[in-house]
């Protein structure tokens, strides 16, 4: 089968060195400490991070560093044919392990001893057309890692660098970046790479099938380029998010409702607490109208979240 | 197990295997028809209860409503598993299973996983859990024969078994279901009626306290009909509880309910 046309176009119309469309968004799961959704083409993944928190299972606690755990789940509507597999099959376990190891390499676990960080990755949609889900699961790996990186940054967990991931393959004697489902299932070589772009270090490298060494270098170089492109995008998303936070904090243009708040908060925190006790409804209403979007935990570092406020 | 009062079909007759079609039983617009076992619409099947059906359990009960036959055994209170967190109130662990020969077609009654959690909820409100902290009570229900209205029978029987085991309860829990067939409400439906029902209402209550612990409704119900259905169930529950009480007291255990 021809995967690259003589004009140099792939089946989905991309050039060999072109990635699928990527999109990232931060803060999609309100209850989590950090969360993100990441899309690569048709693949759509949600990641949520809980922690650092107390280790519920004492026997797993480590005294010199944080325990990082990861669980990968696929929604049963995520593939073309509806999935009827029980949770925790071998493939999910393997991908969970891969994500955990990759992320553990970049989290500064030694700063948070005796704690636990949970990374939950939920695949909403896997690229796979109307076909069986087996291989589709493999293709989600990169998206999962990128989503996890975003979620970890959103949770404010100290990391050495962002880890970004991208895959590359070799078909019709052409190195191809970011394989889609059809290319992935063609049986050619498939290199999944995760790097820390600033440190220029590889944290994940997987390949099935065989490749001559010199070609492998080319393919890997291509994957590295892909990872760097993803990293640039992720950095953009994070910067945009920070700008938003800044804006809401009031340091970057002021929304009138919010500035009123800010005055209240900074001038008389005690007063608010009292006010809320006596007339909880009014203030809380104001807090929430804006507040469900305000995300106080990000804005008021001195008032970690509204719960703390009403604990006075 | 025991003899049976009432002139209805013998307790040990095999379950009716008639493959009647819908039109044979009633038409959708029929106001009146004869129920397959000759009961009136608002007449329950004869209920039979017996406690102490299982020797090795702390308490147990056997219930027989027409062809529906259920055994419930209660074990405990026993120490909660170590892995479970400390709890200053007791825990209840329920399990409902069907024998492979319970249904007309072998092994059909297996997919009733939700019954276990529903039984838990129906009983939870009636048991004084504070009286056995840190411990667990196991309630195992086994449906020997499924003849319709299985779940209400399981609940009533389980509460009797709990009482037999000496578990502290606010009141006995009695449960009755009605089926909506056409325009009529039919109490305590048999399997055949259940398969043709347009809607069902199952009510579980503590009659002396006049409290509903579980209520499940399916199908479309208007408010007057809902009121009627609930009232029928509440009345029937009160009568059922009397039979259960009589059984516990060891007096005349064979009673017919109307």
């Amino acid at each position: 089968m021809e995967y690259v046309s003589p004009e140099g176009l792939r089946l989905d119309g991309r050039r060999p060195m072109e990635m699928r469309q990527i999109r990232g968004e931060i803060g999609v799961v309100d209850k989590a400490d950090g969360s993100a959704v990441f899309e690569m083409g048709n693949t759509k993944v949600i990641a949520a991070v809980y922690g650092p928190r107390e280790v519920p299972n004492r026997s797993q606690q480590m005294n010199d560093r944080a325990l990082v755990r990861c669980e990968y789940t696929m929604a049963n509507f995520s593939t073309g044919d509806r999935m009827r597999k029980p949770k925790g099959d071998r493939r999910s376990t393997e991908i969970s392990l891969v994500i955990r190891q990759t992320m553990e390499a970049c989290i500064m676990t030694h700063l948070m001893p005796r704690t636990q960080i949970d990374i939950f990755v939920q695949v909403l949609q896997a690229d796979g057309g109307k076909s069986r889900c087996l291989i589709a699961a493999v293709g989600t790996r990169s998206a999962c890692i990128n989503a996890a990186t975003l979620a970890l940054s959103d949770a404010g967990i100290p990391m050495r660098d962002l880890v970004t991931s991208c895959s590359a393959g070799y078909l019709n004697s052409t190195p191809l970046l970011d394989l889609n489902y059809v290319e992935d299932s063609a049986g050619g070589a498939d290199v999944t790479l995760g790097i820390m772009p600033k440190l220029d270090k590889v944290t994940l490298l997987q390949m099935d099938a065989k490749l001559p060494l010199d070609i492998f270098e080319n393919v890997m170089q291509l994957a590295i380029e892909g990872c760097k492109a993803v990293a640039t995008y992720i950095r953009q998303v994070l910067l945009e998010n920070t700008k938003q936070l800044e804006y809401r904090r009031g340091t970057h243009g002021q929304s009138p409702a919010y500035s009123a708040f800010k005055v209240l908060f900074s001038a008389a925190r005690r007063f608010i607490a009292v006010l809320m006790k006596f007339d909880g409804g009014y203030i809380m209403e104001t807090v929430f109208d804006e507040g469900s979007r305000l995300k106080i935990k990000h804005i008021q570092s001195s008032i970690p979240n509204q719960r703390a406020v009403f604990r006075f | 197990m025991a003899g049976k009062g009432g002139a209805t079909s013998s307790t040990y007759a095999p379950s009716p295997t008639t493959q009647k079609t819908k039109s044979l039983i009633f038409g959708n617009n029929d106001v009146d028809w004869v129920r397959s076992d000759g009961r009136e619409f608002h007449q329950c099947r004869p209920a039979f209860f017996k406690t102490g059906a299982v020797n090795c359990a702390s308490g147990s009960a056997y219930a027989e409503f027409g062809n529906t036959k259920v055994i419930v055994s209660v074990f405990g209170p026993r120490e909660s598993k170590k892995a479970m967190m400390y709890s200053d109130i007791g825990r209840l662990n329920c399990d409902v299973s069907y024998t492979t020969f319970a249904t007309p077609v072998r092994g059909q009654g297996l997919d009733h996983k939700e019954f276990s959690s529903m039984l838990h909820k129906a009983l939870e409100g009636a048991i004084i859990l504070d009286t056995f902290p840190k411990t667990t009570v196991d309630v195992f229900a086994l449906v020997l024969e499924s003849g319709g209205s299985d779940f209400p029978v399981i609940i009533s029987c389980a509460s009797l078994a709990l009482a037999d085991a000496g578990i502290m309860m606010y009141d006995l829990v009695a449960s009755v279901s009605v089926s909506c067939l056409g325009k009529n409400l039919v109490i305590d439906p048999v399997l055949e009626e259940e398969s043709y029902q347009d809607g069902s209402l199952m009510l579980t209550c503590m009659p002396s306290r006049y409290e509903v612990t579980q209520l499940t409704i399916t199908g479309e119900w208007s408010t007057p009909k809902l009121n009627e259905g609930m009232q029928i169930c509440l009345d029937a529950c009160a009568k059922l509880a009397e039979i259960m009480r009589a059984c516990l007291k060891g007096t005349n255990s064979t009673l017919e309910e109307s």
């Binding site: 309100d30 929604a75 509507f77 109307k130 209403e285 | 939700e114 347009d198 509903v212 408010t223 009121n227």
Partner: protein
């Protein structure tokens, strides 16, 4: 379940009093009144691989529902009916306690409650006459996959199951409705009910052409159209209203903090006509029968508003999707 939730939320005694006191005074900790729901946000078509899908957010509660239709074979008992399967999963992203098999208990509870509330008796409640048009299909020739399912339930027909039949006794549509809890802040059942309603209005079932001449026991051959889709009329699909009883009062759309303080909850599904299409009680404590009837009438009034908001949200979401 109640126990687990309260452990998970972890409130101090002061906070418990604050919540209970607020509810008693008809002003809840987020400023709502007892019977005011949170604003609801609907987005349809979020899963492109499904026949229909929707994402519903109410505060921090976030659920996705998807509808997939597959051709199947009717059961021998009911040859003139299609099948509908409802299944809910709790993603660990919603709470760490759903990790591994931790979410199964809640998932099972929600699935059963949804089946009770949406798929009623035969005469059909909410989802009835959904597919009235589907049965008039023409005759054509091609291949079809045939599978044999063990249905989770056979009799339920909140959805008019007879309209899902393509060829009586041989081919029918199986609707797989999957719910996924992405983020959980109470009132999951209502959110899932709303998401399913929205997903059904977003669903297109491909037109099927049946080959002529298949007689007797032969399996007729069908051709599934890629272009023509039939839409559901979801105006009769009920919505679910859960009334959570805290202290002496009951509230709608409880957050998980409020749910941890509940003594019992009643979920009532109501359709546009104000008829009850299903009811389940959750939570252990007993209720006086008159209170239940009172709750039913309150649920009716609340559901009217909910149906209206939901309908306009769905319409807006559908319009928005068509544009993009």
């Amino acid at each position: 379940m109640k126990l687990i939730i309260s452990e998970m939320v972890g409130l101090s005694i002061g906070e418990k009093h604050f919540i209970q006191g607020g509810i008693a005074q008809d002003i809840r900790s987020d400023g709502r009144k007892r019977l005011t729901p949170r604003p609801i946000n609907v987005k349809t078509g979020v899963i492109s691989q499904a026949n229909g899908s929707a994402r519903v957010r109410m505060g921090a509660t976030d659920v996705i529902a998807s509808v997939k239709a597959e051709l199947g074979r009717p059961t021998a008992l009911q040859p003139d009916k299609g099948k509908v399967f409802i299944n809910v999963d709790c993603s660990p992203t919603a709470a760490p306690m759903f990790e591994g098999r931790g979410g199964e208990e809640l998932s099972a509870e929600l699935s059963v409650a949804l089946r009770h509330c949406l798929l009623g008796g035969k005469s059909g409640s909410g989802l009835s006459s959904l597919l009235a048009i589907v049965s008039q299909w023409n005759v054509f020739e091609s291949n079809c996959r045939v599978k044999i399912w063990v249905p989770l339930f056979v009799s339920g027909a909140g959805i008019e199951l007879s309209s899902l039949v393509v060829v009586e006794g041989k081919i029918c549509w199986d609707l797989y409705i999957d719910g996924l809890v992405v983020s959980s802040d109470g009132n999951l059942l209502d959110a899932l009910g709303a998401a399913i309603k929205a997903a059904l209005s977003n669903t297109g079932i491909p037109r099927v052409n049946v080959a002529a001449g298949a007689s007797g026991d032969e399996q007729p051959e069908v051709d599934v159209s890629d272009e023509e889709f039939l839409q559901f009329d979801t105006s009769k699909v009920p919505v679910i209203v859960t009334l959570t009883k805290v202290g002496k009062h009951y509230i709608v759309d409880a957050t998980s903090e409020e749910e941890s303080q509940m003594s019992s909850a009643v979920s009532i599904s109501v359709n546009r006509q104000g008829h009850i299409c299903g009811l389940t009680k959750r939570g252990g404590a007993g209720l006086d029968p008159s209170i239940i009837l009172d709750m039913v009438s309150v649920a009716k009034t609340v559901s009217e508003q909910l149906i209206n908001t939901l309908d306009s949200q769905i319409a807006a979401a559908e319009a928005g999707e068509d544009e993009s």
